[in-house]
């Protein structure tokens, strides 16, 4: 199968690309603040599952792409994403073997950390205002992470990405 040709590289980048698209897709203003961090969660899954192939520099590049697409200061999201992915990779063994709820909790905390870092850098760069809406994506991430994990694990097993 062609998707397996490069050890599933294509399918992994396809999921990452879908994550990126969902991240920048226009949404109605009501649900906008609740938009889960699709890209971060997809990157996190692959770096937990295959830390030797998808790691901090993958996260950095995708964070940069997100910065460009969102028109933000370059380097904000790449910094936050590589930091969070670093922590996820440090604990990847533990995260993989955690029970579902515990894993979800840790991922939610990591998402919170990601938003805090983004906020913090933006505060240093150009006085951003603190807003508790910052953490709404973490709440929606809490709900969505188990599903992302389940879907991506099926993808990984089906295409035998190792």
């Amino acid at each position: 199968m062609s998707l397996q040709a490069a050890n599933g590289r294509l399918i992994v980048w396809l999921t990452l690309f879908i994550g990126l698209l969902s991240q920048i897709m226009p949404l109605p203003a009501v649900v906008e603040a609740w938009r889960p961090d699709w890209l971060l969660m997809v990157v996190m899954y692959w770096s937990i599952a295959l830390p030797h192939r998808y790691n901090i520099l993958t996260a950095w590049v995708l964070g940069l792409a997100l910065d460009i697409l969102l028109g933000a200061t370059l380097g904000v999201r790449s910094l936050a994403m590589s930091l969070v992915i670093y922590i996820a990779i440090l604990h990847c063994q533990r995260l993989r073997n955690f029970p579902k709820w515990q894993q979800t909790l840790v991922v939610t905390l990591l998402i919170c950390l990601y938003h805090l870092v983004v906020y913090w850098v933006e505060f240093v760069m150009d006085e951003a205002k603190f807003n508790t809406d910052l953490f709404l994506p973490a709440i929606s991430g809490l709900v969505i992470w188990p599903w992302i994990f389940w879907i991506l694990r099926r993808v990984r097993r089906h295409y035998k990405v190792r």
Binding site: I24, R35, H52, L69, G71, K129, N131
Partner: protein, 313 residues
């Protein structure tokens, strides 16, 4: 196979590298504008692709609308058109009268400016930044600093362009400031964004200034960026507290910033006092005389930085 020992560089090294690269980008951010523009051009297909599901939804709701709904909509639009054309007739009369009066006074007449309708591709998903991305870019002649309005009032200005897209900073963004005046008494003020969609604030308003709830704020044209006279906001609240040296004035933007879909890009006419990128420092009167000799008043396709003004701190 998963290697038992991690080969190659360690994660700590990767993290250090990522942090160093990010910090370099953050520090050099202002010098990276050209690079960002070309990268944004390269990534703009992603933006088009991302707006596709929304466009599909719009399309399907349009094509599966029932006959009843369409008839209803049609009726409503006809009614609106009637109202508008009546207003337009009055407006036309006023315009002519105004031109005559201006001619009597010897001041230059207003000219119509070129406009183009643009569609919103993306809305900033970040509560601390208020941006929208439009489907027109440098190829259509959009330039940095260009005013953007909708049917009700001023929306913001273009801050970044790529070949096919452009990014508009909304006037509700905290970094946006806009010179305005009160239509009732011509008091000049500066309207700053607050980060809330439905609120802008007027800073440094002396308590003695005559400003009331309900006053209409229009662009004053003083920043040399927005043409004069576009409606901006209506004053919602004027608070004068004893301890404060200034009054706290908030206003509500007239443009519905939370549900914009189509916007108007404006190419200000050359003699409206607004500085276009290709005619910086050309006095309006001279420019009018020189205009037929090859130098078109149209903005150049490539952006030049308009002179800095208070509008974009």
């Amino acid at each position: 196979m998963k290697p038992i020992f991690v080969r190659g560089i360690s994660n700590q090294f990767r993290l250090t590298l990522a942090i160093i690269l990010s910090v370099i980008l953050l520090v050099a951010n202002h010098r990276l504008e050209p690079a960002r523009q070309s990268l944004a051009s390269a990534l703009s297909p992603v933006q088009y692709l991302a707006s596709f599901p929304g466009a599909l939804l719009d399309w399907s709701s349009e094509s599966f609308a029932t006959r009843n709904m369409l008839a209803l909509q049609n009726k409503e639009l006809l009614r609106q058109q009637l109202l508008m054309s009546e207003r337009l007739q009055r407006f036309e009369h006023l315009r002519q009268e105004n031109e005559r009066l201006r001619a009597l006074l010897g001041s230059p007449a207003y000219q119509d400016s070129r406009k183009m309708v643009a569609e919103v591709l993306e809305v900033a998903s970040d509560p601390s930044h208020h941006y929208v991305v439009l489907n027109l870019g440098a190829r259509s002649g959009v330039f940095v600093g260009q005013p953007v309005v909708d049917a009700q009032g001023v929306v913001g200005q273009v801050v970044q362009i790529s070949e096919m897209t452009s990014r508009v900073l909304l006037l509700s963004d905290v970094s946006h400031g806009l010179p305005v005046r009160i239509t009732r008494n011509d008091v000049r003020l500066i309207a700053n964004g607050t980060g809330e969609n439905d609120e802008i604030e007027l800073r440094h308003v002396a308590k003695s200034i005559d400003i009331r709830v309900g006053d209409l704020l229009v662009t004053s044209g003083l920043g040399n960026r927005f043409p004069e006279g576009y409606p901006v906001a209506r004053v919602m609240e004027v608070l004068t507290e004893d301890g404060q040296s200034y009054a706290r004035v908030t206003a509500q933007p007239l443009a519905a910033l939370d549900r914009i879909r189509y916007l108007l890009l404006i190419w200000p006419s050359p003699d409206s006092g607004v500085t276009l990128p290709n005619q910086i420092l050309v006095p309006a009167a001279d420019h009018l005389q020189e205009a037929p000799k090859g130098e078109t008043p149209e903005p150049a396709a490539e952006p030049a930085n308009p002179p800095t003004s208070e509008e974009n701190r």
